[in-house]
């Protein structure tokens, strides 16, 4: 058979599971989830913003790098023009050799610089003279191209490097619209560097021009002055667009270049013309939407070039690109994990509470259905709670008892002190049993066996009380029955002893008489006498013995069977002093430890010799002491032993402390001594019972008991008499 403990039985009873939708119980979990999701959102926003900021910074860094390099490239070209400007300002005349010298290094350094040239302002009138002058400058085949009469010419006079640009010598830039417009601007804004739009400066080369106008000089005898705004010509740089951008960007790459696309646009004439795109632009898909775009302006002299930047597809991707997603995902996961964790705690707590509630309910049912009183009291015994069984046992309702103290239910005052003493000496959480007579509400008596457990930490006493009235009544009945049987047995024993003694004495006397009768008859038969007088004596003696015999026969009753004497009750000569220690030992072995009996014996007379069975006499005296001290916690007995040679008895007189209850029972014993067995139910503290035993035992010893009270409030007295031993 499987056995289950109380806990496992309750646990296995239908447990209630907490549904996730029982919001009243699971709200902490949902709250945790909501808070987690909200926090996840904010974290995602923060991470996204951080990533965007990092991207913007990286983009800005990349674009700034490009712009810086482009600005630097323009600046380098500007410095070239600046140096030529200085040359022309500080020179009366710049001849070919000087010009070529100045232009040699820049043109050899910068591959984007197609040429540096001097293009004079030549009117139609000055044309021929100009050509002649050019020839004198060792341009022997110099001629202005394209040929034709025009009002104004801007022919290339000097050009560096001549080797690559010889075919450009004499070219009239006035015939190039873009160049001519630029020259006019240069003239109108003398001294400043101007730039042309991007156009095909050569048939196959997209580029632009940077120039500044040289002021006409007036030479007088003392100085060269540059007067007015009359243009003498322009110093012009011819730059390749591709070369300009490529050498700047492609030839000087930085790592950030790969993260962006950019394209340069010339917005001349209201149209947007792409003049350069980064090398990776070709890889950009048509439908690609860059993360970041920006438009910047590159100033080339007086013109502005639009540079449009955009991030490449791979820009900000990878881990950084996914970071916001991961942060959001992580936040959401953590939120749900937290939700599940809190939910498990809540449901576990719910299950525990439910289990505790079920256990409490089941325990309450057990308490309420128990036939025993289950109660809780304070340390002083005041009822705090009590089970319904109290109604059946003590006839009090639960509410009535809660106003009382357990001590109020005790019938005997001594029990109150006994309980207080037991509670004071009890160990914490160690139960002890306390049986007490209690009174019900209706005045009846009930024996209650309390099992009490004191918890000083709780300040409570936990109690279970069982009605043992029936059991006690049965015990009392059994004890009474035992006493009655003992007295009856003792009476039987006494009768038996008396009969045995009688038979022994009768046997002895009969035999004595027979001895005399038969002996002398035998002597007469054999004529054993020596004289008639002796014969007469024999006859007389025989007759006397016969008469004795007749007397004894009339006292005889037929006894069938053997007379068996129980044990050896033969009297011996013994002094009281020899039995004193054994008497005291017998008395103290029968009384409880808290009871005190003080024996005061008068020394005169303790050596009185009596003829008694020692063991029975010791028992007689001890039980007399017990009877006279019955029910008293403390008593004093005064013992006097004396020999009464006149009546041939030894007397033991015992005086006890006054006690009304003992006195009452002594009188009752005297009244009921012939009917003692039936009177035993009225006995208390075994007083009558002990006196009955003493009387019977004394009769067996051939003695007697006299007992009485000396008066109200006076001592009680017992007189034991036994045969006095003769002789020394």
């Amino acid at each position: 058979m499987n056995t289950s403990s109380y806990d496992s039985v309750v646990k296995s009873a239908a447990p209630q599971k907490t549904s996730i939708f029982q919001i009243s119980k699971t709200y902490p979990a949902f709250l945790t989830l909501i808070i987690g999701l909200v926090l996840s959102f904010f974290v995602w926003k923060f991470v996204t913003k951080t990533v965007e900021s990092d991207r913007a910074t990286a983009f800005d860094k990349a674009t700034s790098s490009v712009m810086t390099r482009l600005d630097a490239a323009y600046d380098r070209q500007y410095q070239i023009l600046n140096s030529f400007d200085g040359l022309y300002k500080n020179s009366v005349q710049v001849v070919r050799g000087v010009f070529e010298l100045y232009g040699a290094i820049p043109t050899s350094t910068y591959s984007s610089l197609l040429s540096v040239s001097y293009v004079p302002h030549v009117t139609n009138k000055e044309r021929d003279e100009f050509v002649y002058y050019a020839m004198s400058e060792r341009y022997y085949d110099y001629k202005i191209t394209p040929p034709g009469d025009r009002e104004l010419y801007y022919p290339v006079e000097y050009i560096v490097p001549l080797r690559r640009n010889a075919h450009r010598s004499g070219f009239d830039f006035a015939t190039q619209q873009q160049a001519f417009e630029t020259m006019k601007r240069a003239q109108s804004d003398m001294g400043k560097v101007v730039a042309s739009e991007f156009y095909n400066v050569r048939p196959d080369t997209l580029g632009f021009l940077m120039m500044f106008a040289v002021k006409k000089k007036v030479v007088d005898s003392f100085a060269v002055e540059l007067k007015g705004n009359k243009i003498e010509g322009v110093v012009m740089l011819e730059l390749s667009s591709d070369g300009f951008f490529t050498t700047t960007i492609t030839d000087n790459p930085v790592p950030t270049d790969t993260s962006i696309f950019f394209a340069c646009y010339d917005n001349a004439s209201g149209s947007k013309k792409k003049i350069f795109a980064s090398a990776n632009s070709s890889k950009m898909a048509q439908d690609f939407t860059p993360l970041i775009t920006e438009t910047r302006t590159l100033k080339i002299a007086d013109r502005e070039i639009t540079v449009e930047f955009a991030t490449v597809p791979s820009f900000g991707q990878g881990f950084q690109g996914r970071l916001p997603f991961f942060s959001l995902l992580g936040g959401v996961l953590i939120s749900f994990v937290g939700f599940a964790f809190i939910f498990s705690i809540v449901t576990a707590r719910g299950r525990a509470l439910d289990l505790a509630e079920r256990m409490t309910r089941s325990q309450r049912r057990i308490v309420e259905s128990s036939q025993d009183i289950i109660a809780v009291m304070d340390i002083q015994g005041g009822w705090k709670s009590v089970s319904p069984a109290v109604k059946k046992t003590l006839d009090y309702s639960e509410n009535e008892l809660l106003t009382k103290n357990i001590l109020d239910t005790f019938l005997h005052p001594d029990d109150k002190e006994r309980l207080k003493s037991a509670l004071a000496s009890s160990k914490d959480d160690v139960g002890f049993t306390f049986e007490v007579q209690s009174g019900t509400k209706t005045g009846e008596m009930r024996w209650i066996s309390w099992h009490l457990t004191v918890s000083r930490a709780d300040g409570l006493i936990y109690a279970i009380g069982r009605d043992i009235t029936l059991q006690k009544t049965s015990e009392e009945q059994a004890k009474l029955h035992n006493k009655q049987v003992q007295l009856a047995e003792l009476s039987a024993l006494e009768a038996n002893d008396f009969k045995a003694k009688f038979m022994r004495e009768l046997s002895h006397n009969l035999r004595d008489a027979l001895t005399g009768t038969m002996g002398f008859l035998q002597l007469l038969a054999v004529k054993g006498y020596e004289s008639p007088e002796e014969e007469e004596t024999f006859i007389e003696t025989a007759e006397n013995s016969s008469e004795q015999l007749y007397t004894y026969v009339t006292d005889i009753t037929d006894v069938a069977g053997e007379v068996i004497v129980q044990g050896d009750t033969s009297p011996v000569k013994v002094r009281y002093s020899e039995m004193m220690q054994d008497i005291e030992k017998s008395v103290y072995s029968e009384i409880p430890s808290e009871k005190k009996i003080t024996l005061n014996i008068e020394q005169d007379g303790v050596n009185t010799a009596m003829l008694v069975n020692k063991n029975i006499f010791i028992d007689v005296v001890a039980k007399t002491f017990l009877a006279l001290s019955g029910g008293m916690k403390s008593t004093e007995l005064f013992i006097t032993v004396r020999g009464n040679s006149y009546e041939k008895v030894a007397e033991v007189e015992i005086l006890s402390s006054p006690d009304a209850n003992v006195a009452r029972l002594i009188q009752l014993f005297k009244q009921e001594s012939a009917n003692l067995i039936d009177a035993l139910p009225q006995d208390e503290h075994d007083i009558m019972y002990n006196l009955g035993l003493v009387s019977s035992m004394l009769r067996r010893l051939g003695g007697s008991l006299m007992i009485d009270s000396l008066g109200d409030g006076e001592q009680n007295v017992a007189m034991i008499t036994v045969p006095l031993a003769r002789g020394k």
Binding site: H508, R511, D512, M518, Q522, L523, G528, G727
Partner: protein, 123 residues
């Protein structure tokens, strides 16, 4: 000291005491008779009879008490003591022998064999 031919008889019944006296004297013994135990003990203390015949129930002492006191005398163990009593139960003989009596004769005695029983016990 008494005569070595003396037998001490302690018996409270007059008829029986007389009978013992007649039988023992006819057999040639001297007989000293006592009706009570205490006087007998006093005499035995100072005398050494050939034999002691003792009844068990006497007015002042029992036969057993007399025997115990006699055995404490210097010559107490030299003299046989016979119990002649009216306690004739089967267990009585064993009891008297256990108490220290040298022999036991139940009453009523057989006058024809009484002296022979006595002579057998005398050392």
């Amino acid at each position: 000291m008494a005569d070595a031919n003396t037998i001490c008889v302690i018996e409270d019944n007059l008829s029986i005491r007389k009978l013992y006296g007649i039988l023992l004297k006819k057999a040639g013994f001297n007989v000293v008779e006592f009706e009570e135990g205490e006087p007998a003990v006093e005499w035995l203390e100072n005398n050494h009879p050939l034999l002691v015949i003792c009844d068990d129930i006497l007015p002042d002492l029992t036969g057993t008490e007399i025997l115990k006191k006699f055995r404490t005398f210097p010559h107490g163990n030299d003299t046989p003591v016979i119990a002649i009593t009216g306690h004739a139960h089967a267990s009585d003989r064993e009891r008297y022998l256990e108490h220290g009596f040298d022999d036991y004769i139940a009453k009523p005695i057989n006058t024809a064999t009484f002296v022979e029983q006595i002579r057998r016990i005398i050392p």
